[in-house]
């Protein structure tokens, strides 16, 4: 019963809001997010018991873990779009790739920053070069590079193709981040599961996770619209764009 209400029901609602109710998503998602975040963080901050060893500092988990999970989901979406674009080029796919990368980077940065803050009282250091943190830092810089590439290329088609290539290569890091705690001895703990986590922590964690997912989806939708309108403007006025370097010029004119 508990699992039903905390794990399954909010997830089903979110899926319905994103698929069946997609037309009203820009209204329903914020409401869903505020409710689940309100309950999740409210319970996490004031109701859930302190951890046996970490005390109250453990409450950071209800923000750090959902942030990182949402980041990984967003970046997996980016990987999917990058692959899809190479098989079937479309501005929609490219815009979704741009949106998911930016949102993924945002949540990832927040997640890593929160992890660093959490590390100070628990591990004694803000940072250490263990596998989980190192691969997470790589992820942040890699996707900053992805967004920088998008900004530095003006031809929309080349930008989309090259971003797809870079997105695919950058995504190699994602499974390494996920499994790093299992493959190597890391300061960061191994993945928790409902079996290893106290029931009192599960409700706020699950609700906060769904809240962050909903927020990520909402941000991606809005960022996607911004990207699509930029694409429309670029494609409609090709003469206004300076073309990229040598590749488009005829031989010898360079």
């Amino acid at each position: 019963m508990f699992i039903l209400t905390t794990a399954v029901l909010p997830g089903v609602i979110l899926i319905l809001l994103l698929t069946v109710g997609r037309k009203y998503a820009h209204l329903t998602l914020p409401v869903y997010a505020l409710i689940t975040l309100g309950i999740g963080h409210g319970v996490g901050l004031f109701v859930a018991p302190p951890d046996r060893e970490m005390g109250d500092v453990q409450r950071i988990m209800y923000a750090h873990v959902p942030a990182v999970w949402s980041a990984l989901v967003a970046l997996v979406i980016n990987f999917g779009c990058s692959v899809a674009y190479l098989f079937n080029p479309s501005w929609k796919t490219d815009s979704l790739a741009e949106a998911s990368a930016e949102v993924g980077l945002l949540f990832g940065a927040v997640g890593v920053l929160l992890g660093s803050i959490w590390g100070k009282p628990t591990w004694g250091v803000y940072w250490t070069w263990d596998p989980r943190l190192t691969t997470a830092a790589i992820m942040l810089v890699a996707y900053m590079g992805y967004l920088a590439l998008r900004r530095f290329v003006e031809d929309p088609e080349k930008r989309a193709t090259w971003s797809s290539v870079v997105g695919i290569i950058a995504a190699v890091d994602l499974p390494i981040i996920w499994f790093s705690v299992k493959w190597w001895r890391s300061l960061h703990q191994v993945q928790s599961s409902p079996k290893t986590t106290d029931v009192a922590f599960q409700l706020p964690l699950r609700l906060s996770s769904y809240a962050f997912l909903a927020l990520a989806a909402l941000f991606i939708i809005h960022r996607y619209r911004i990207a699509m309108s930029e694409r429309k403007a670029e494609v409609a006025l090709p003469e206004a764009l300076p073309t990229d370097a040598q590749a488009n010029r005829t031989a010898g004119v360079m």
């Binding site: 963080h41 901050l45 302190p50 951890d51 046996r52 060893e53 970490m54 005390g55 109250d56 500092v57 409450r59 950071i60 923000a63 750090h64 942030a67 945002l106 940065a109 927040v110 920053l113 929160l114 803050i117 959490w118 100070k120 009282p121 628990t122 927020l215 941000f219 809005h222 960022r223 619209r225 911004i226 699509m228 309108s229 930029e230 429309k232 403007a233 409609a236 006025l237």
Partner: protein, 59 residues
């Protein structure tokens, strides 16, 4: 011998519960950063929103 027992009892009283005490500063900093970052990003999305005109946005 009894002084050792005394020391032992005092020491037992000074060993903590093995749990981090306090730390609410870290918690509030984390949550503040989270909410702040999400709000700022939402604001940036709002500011960058596409203008609905047939001419098309200039950016």
């Amino acid at each position: 011998m009894s002084s050792l027992m005394l020391l032992a009892q005092v020491a037992a009283g000074e060993v903590g519960s093995g749990r981090i005490q306090g730390g609410w500063g870290y918690v509030w900093a984390s949550y503040g950063i989270t909410w702040g970052a999400l709000t700022l990003y939402a604001l940036s999305l709002w500011l960058r929103r596409p203008k609905n005109s047939p001419v098309g946005p200039k950016e």
